[in-house]
Symmetry: C2
Subunit: 621 residues, 2 copies
């Protein structure tokens, strides 16, 4: 099979594509993800009230193209004819291959929504709208406009914004004292003429170092209306948090510029999701944002230098009392902004959001959460005890410091399989241009599997290679003085510039990265006095971690040696956590509670760190 | 005696001038005011801790020119030689004539300050500064910067402004973790390097329809640092609240313009007092503002129309959560603004401030508070019960609708005495140009006293005049077809344009104005079931009321018929109340409590109002 061909749907490691109608949107997800989650993570609303447990039977979809087996509950939910037509429950429909899915329009106005990793959230947003019909004032009833409104909404202690106070007399009298109060927590942020209770929106942001995602939510139904993502405009200042912190240390103007770039990124996304969803920016009354500590500091214009040098100290773990305007967003003038609290300089709000979205605080199983990236955040919990740490994995997973490394963009090899030949899956199905993080992990894992890399991470000799894998051995060659394994060489090309290969040094980079991560979780396992095999579930999170092949992650020792089914791709959990905070005050409180429940373990001052690290460099047997 | 000559110091009705050294400032006050109050109201600090009761004996001053009798307590406080040198206690030194007063520099750092009408206020401002020396962070102590600061100030629950959060990491590290926290209530609004606890300022504003006064206060000592006043820049939109409200009803742009003009007035005054006091605007952390409901609404950009038409409804009685920046002020970026709450559309925050400054909520005597102006606010209380109302007095007191009326500016006749001849006191000691409110009241009162006006308010016939007051009778003449009394005619002039006179219609205008006021307080007396003679003190307040001659006010029936000594000029009580709110959280709470204690009596729907009004038109016998 040649490079660029489709692979992997059969063995459950490649990406599958789901096309949704009538929205026309399509998404690529790891196989095994439920159609419900795939839709939800991508802003396509499917009815549900039970939280994906197959009990409400509302998440009806029709498989128009592709195949999904009939589940036990499908048989109870649909007639045989419907089943033949492709009707399934979305929460139980696992996408094993490419699918085209028809999503019926929403029929229920749910009291709950399903977000995160199967989390069902009772809808109780901070944003409320109350329609009231008030008595008109008279000489016998000279209550102030505010007192009149408060008396009409007497279960809340409303505090008006100045903007709302300015609008109050005019709007009351324009609309015969029939108005809708717009409330966030107990702040009265506006009064609108007549009954506008059906229009209530918020935006959840996942402010990543690389990618920023915005989801526009309808707070009345709990469903996503539109999703957009783009690269963080801070990219020119460096690919990771450390280079961005460094730039502020070298240039006094950099902090202001980075702040503006972050604000512009959010503003562009906000405008895009509003346009996409047919929502006026002034109808967006709240935003929630999950980001790591550096992204959060830069967005707020706080000097990040203390985050970048020991002892790694944040200005605050809990930025509060903010407005969307403080983040440079032109939404409703009184729109509030809720930022996820952080556990530490390197376990930020994005991870707290992820813990919320994955239920790390509630699930009674022993679970390991790993957000793989330049800075890798690791959480281990069993519902009673939760510990977390951060491991400096370096840029390898983002293609940095890798000879043919690149971002997960068009032309990047994302899946590698070695048999008699090399089989590649390339983003965009084009000629391979380089190797992204998941391709790197795959390549190394496969080379270890076939034996071309030994346990210490060294390429075997050419002679040994010819014995071990005669059809692949000629790909082991030299580029300059360095030994490499050629993954792709264009037909007829002799120029190494067109070649995509994995070098000995690349393997070392990956070993350092995975050893840092493995040291992190092994120390956390020690903290809870449990062993690697006790772990019941590993959640791979983040825009990179979600796309890792679980089998390859096990093979190189990035995760504990466990059955592949226990290793789950968790998707964009930071964004999901942000959505939960917008949909439910209870979940928002849960994020604050996590700060007290989670014990942060600092690795950089552990005397045993280096020993453990060296132990983890080798690949597991 | 000719026009323009000094009069009145002897009979206690004219103004006296006090010149203070070394400040070089001089002020004109009604006679009988204590030197302490005269200084305090004008921003000159004199030591005191007892509140003007003669007990602390700290308010030592020296009378350099003029005469002040030695009081019983002066004898105990000074040696005979000191007494001969002119040393007196300022709180007991009544200014009966012009004085030059030497004020020693402040020696104490008081825990209390004297403001208002003899109110002693324990210093406990909302603005606090705390100097802390914090431990530097380490890997063993990774508390966030905010947590570290909070732990150092553990008696408060600090909530940081975003501005303070931005400054925190930088300032902590610039100053070796020795910083001063700037706190308003429990908001952390800034951190400053090193110990800046000695610099802590606030500005009290009295936002009048006509005049706006700003006092810069040193919150550490409770003393005024600088005072400035100017005309409200909204003047071109009309002299009173009704014309300004009308302009917003006719022109949709007017509200925005009026808001900007009010903001500009405050900003100019703020800049002036800061420059005058040698204080950086960024050292001003709070402002307090007392204004009537219309001025407050316009300043905040709230449509005032509902205040101007029945049933006279405010947007809110208690504007809260404001910042100085919301008022257009460029002080510290986190500076807060506290606005006085209002009792009703026509008993606004200025009156609540005045009630605080005069102790209307605490004094056990039956007292009547009257703020004389176009809208006249009246409060009656005995410490247990307090009632208030507003009377529409019209523009007469501000010189409006009076033929030769003018504001209290240079050339205005402010005092009138009739004997064998007419004796006038003119502002600026220049040729009279017109008649201001106090001159109008004086003129009518004197004409009633000599009998040239009868009890019904009609000028007597020329024949009767010649019998009653032969030396004045020829001043009764005609201008056009209207009978007038000529107060001043320039020597040799025959042109009535240069003549200052009082017309029959002017007398009617004043009768209507004083009848409205008298109807107001007589209905309040009925509400408390007491009679006019039960009133133990009448406080005349406001920039106009404070300058009224008590004897003339009694004569025309503007106040109950009481011994003149019971009628007290209270000064700029709105501004004093604003100062109290800045100096003491307890007093600020007191203002809020007043809202519940005071019962507002609406006059405009009283069926007996017209009857009472007609009864009050005549002058008392």
């Amino acid at each position: 099979m040649s490079a660029g061909a489709e692979v992997g749907n059969e063995d459950g490691t490649g990406r599958v594509e789901l096309a949704f109608t009538p929205s026309g949107r399509s998404v690529r997800v790891p196989p095994g993800v439920s159609v419900f989650d795939a839709a939800s993570w991508n802003g396509i609303a499917i009815d549900s009230t039970c939280g994906g447990h197959g009990t409400c039977k509302k998440c009806r979809i029709r498989i128009v193209d592709g195949s999904v087996p009939v589940s036990r509950l499908d048989v109870r939910s649909f007639t045989p004819e419907q089943l033949r037509e492709g009707w399934r429950l979305a929460c139980l429909a696992q996408a094993a291959g490419d699918l085209t899915v028809e999503v019926p329009p929403l029929v229920t106005r749910p009291k709950a929504a399903t977000v995160g990793v199967g989390r069902q959230v009772i809808l109780r947003p901070a944003v409320q709208k109350r329609y009231v019909e008030l008595d008109e004032p008279s000489l016998a009833d000279q209550r102030t406009d505010l007192a009149r409104l408060r008396d009409g909404i007497d279960d809340l202690e409303l505090t008006p914004d100045l903007h709302a106070l300015r609008r109050l007399p005019t709007v009351l009298r324009q609309s015969d004292f029939k108005v809708t109060a717009v409330i966030v927590d107990e702040a009265l942020i506006d009064v609108e003429p007549g009954d506008t209770t059906g229009r209530r929106f918020a935006i959840a942001f996942d402010l990543g170092t690389t990618t920023v995602v915005a989801t526009l939510l309808d707070l009345t139904t709990g469903t996503p209306v539109a999703v957009q993502s783009m690269l963080n405009r801070q990219q020119p200042f460096g690919g990771d948090v450390i280079t961005r912190i460094s730039s502020t240390m070298m240039d006094p103007e950099a902090l202001g510029r980075l702040q503006r770039l972050a604000q512009e990124t959010l503003a562009e996304l906000a405008a895009a999701v509003c346009a996409d969803g047919g929502v006026e920016p002034a109808e967006v009354y709240e935003v929630a944002l999950a980001g790591n500590a550096t992204m959060t500091a830069l967005l707020l214009g706080i000097d990040p230098e203390p985050l970048g040098v020991a002892p790694f100290v944040m200005a605050t773990a809990t930025p509060e009392g903010l407005r969307a305007a403080d983040l440079g967003l032109g939404l409703h003038p009184g729109a509030r902004a809720t930022l996820f609290p952080a556990l530490g300089a390197y376990v930020g709000g994005d991870i707290v959001a992820g813990m919320l979205a994955t239920g790390m605080d509630r699930d009674k199983r022993l679970r390991l959460f790993i957000d793989v990236g330049t800075n890798c955040e690791i959480v281990l919990g069993d519902g009673d005890r939760i510990v977390s740490t951060a491991a400096p994995a370096g840029p390898a997973f983002e293609g940095g410091a890798i000879r043919c490394g690149m971002r997960a963009a068009e032309g990047a090899i994302e899946v590698v399989r070695l048999g008699d030949d090399v089989t590649l899956q390339v983003i965009g199905d084009v000629e391979p241009r380089g190797l992204c993080g998941s391709g790197l992990v795959d390549a190394v894992a496969e080379l270890v599997k076939v034996g071309l890399l030994d346990a210490s991470g060294r390429f075997v000799t050419n002679d040994a290679a010819k014995e071990i894998a005669p059809t692949l051995a000629d790909r082991l060659t030299l580029v300059g003085e360095e030994r490499v394994f050629v993954l792709h060489r264009p037909a007829g090309s002799v120029d190494t510039a067109d070649t995509v290969y994995l070098s000995q040094r690349d393997v070392r980079e990956l070993q350092f990265a995975k050893a840092a991560i493995a040291t992190g979780w092994s120390l956390l396992l020690e903290e809870l006095q449990v062993g690697p095999r006790d772990v019941q579930q590993v959640l791979l999170a983040g825009s990179f971690g979600s796309y890792l092949s679980p089998a390859s992650a096990v093979r190189i020792g990035l995760v504990p040696k466990l059955p592949v089914l226990r290793i789950v791709s968790a998707g964009n959990v930071a964004g999901e956590g942000a959505k939960m905070a917008l949909l439910s005050l209870r979940e928002r409180t849960g994020a604050r509670t996590l700060l007290e429940e989670v014990r942060y373990v600092e690795l950089s001052d552990r005397s045993d760190f280096n020993d453990k690290f060296v132990e983890q460099l080798a690949f597991p047997p």
